[in-house]
Symmetry: C2
Subunit: 254 residues, 2 copies
């Protein structure tokens, strides 16, 4: 059914796929969205096997790589306009690592033995925008803390590792943290996000000073409600202003 769904939209290119490392932040941990497929197997005394992997798919033959990655995201999350960036391409001829991988490919691909290279993207989603029960939210997708990622199919553990590296690096140089937070957020939430992704503890006063000095946060006329402590000022990210500033100056460090 999955295959059919895709084929309606064009001819699959059996040689190139995209895989997406989709990150979310729940104010506690950095999470990654993985899909699990269960398939009966012919191996005796082993009637099912689990195939946990990154969401991804073969590209369509008339489709740009970015478009393809966006499609994978939309099919899985129902979301458009998600922050997304290509970070690396994996092409080890031995990417298929186990008998399970082979079995799995046989069950979903027209050309299961074709060599496939995969272009990997990471993307950042605002969890509050995501409706996990949307009809479009297909398959057995679930969020895993990046600190507890299981054994994945193919070379996906390696891809996830590199995705996290790239994310960390990007967080140092561009204001992408906001992509993981709701439109309205507190400085405390932002700080926690930085601390968790960078795996460091930051000084509250210094962090606030630094972030506010960038002049890309808009303080809202609104405060947090329903928290058992002092209500924090809410801010939103001024993307337009940031884009302006970025074109003017070089090296806008975060």
């Amino acid at each position: 059914m999955y295959r059919k769904n895709v084929e309606q939209k064009g001819k699959l290119n059996p040689h190139v796929s995209v895989d997406c490392a989709i990150f979310g932040f729940d104010f506690e941990e950095l999470k990654i969205l993985l899909i699990e497929r269960v398939k009966p197997t012919e191996i005796p005394n082993d009637y099912f096997f689990r195939n946990i992997s990154l969401p991804g798919n073969l590209i369509l033959d008339n489709e740009d790589l970015d478009t393809s990655a966006k499609r994978v995201l939309r099919e899985l999350t129902g979301l458009d306009n998600i922050f997304m960036e290509q970070f690396y391409t994996f092409g080890d001829p031995n990417r298929v690592k186990s008998k399970y991988d082979e079995e799995w490919l046989k069950s979903i691909r027209e050309e299961p033995t074709a060599r496939v290279i995969t272009v990997a993207y990471y993307s950042l989603v605002k969890l509050d925008k995501l409706n996990l029960h949307a009809a479009s939210f297909a398959q057995n997708a679930s969020w895993y803390p990046v600190s507890k990622i299981p054994d994945l199919a193919f070379d996906h553990n390696q891809i996830v590792y590199k995705a996290i590296q790239s994310l960390k690096h990007k967080l140092h140089t561009e204001p992408i943290g906001f992509e993981l937070l709701p439109e309205k957020f507190t400085l405390g939430q932002l700080q926690k996000l930085y601390e968790i992704i960078l795996n460091a503890t930051l000084d509250k006063r210094n962090f606030r000073r630094k972030i506010l000095s960038k002049k890309v946060l808009i303080p809202l006329m609104e405060k947090q409600v329903g928290v058992p402590h002092k209500q924090a000022q809410l801010y939103s990210f001024d993307k337009e202003k940031y884009e302006e500033m970025r074109t003017e100056m070089v090296g806008f460090d975060f």
Copy 2:
């Protein structure tokens, strides 16, 4: 002949290529190595056309992407152990931009209309190690200043642009400048390299202080000779020490 030469080594994968942006530095400018192929054409009154492009080739079917890029480099320059890094993958279905591109593909490819996505690498070579007259230095390859790059085949102008961006970025965060200089170099040469690649002027005293404070340059017992001014101290880059330091600390800025 070119095709045959490659096919001896394995079966070509007609869907994926690698392209290499090879940079060199002659103490004056940053240069890039481009190849030019001239082919008779059937277009009336237009008996030849020029095809200037990045060196690149289809990958072999049993070959890793990095290996493939190394092969392209070795076939062209005769050099092994060159600094090399994958920076982006280009997969626009309309990468073939002109009638010339189509013609060219027809003359060299088994499947000239197949869609090809290309994994792009940049690499840095020490010009003094390169023997332009080596037998292995095939085809009409020549160095172009990056400030004067002609119209290239396919989407290669775009690839070059992104390669230069990546190189600049990398130069800020890692000591890759040494890869473009001879083993023994002066601080003046190093500074000039930074100034040219980053397109900025740097203060001599501050530059020296900063570079020397990293403690990865070994002052040699040797001075420049044959220059019509004071002879400069020669240095070499202590790669081992740098690797050590890098694993210990994070964020070794250049």
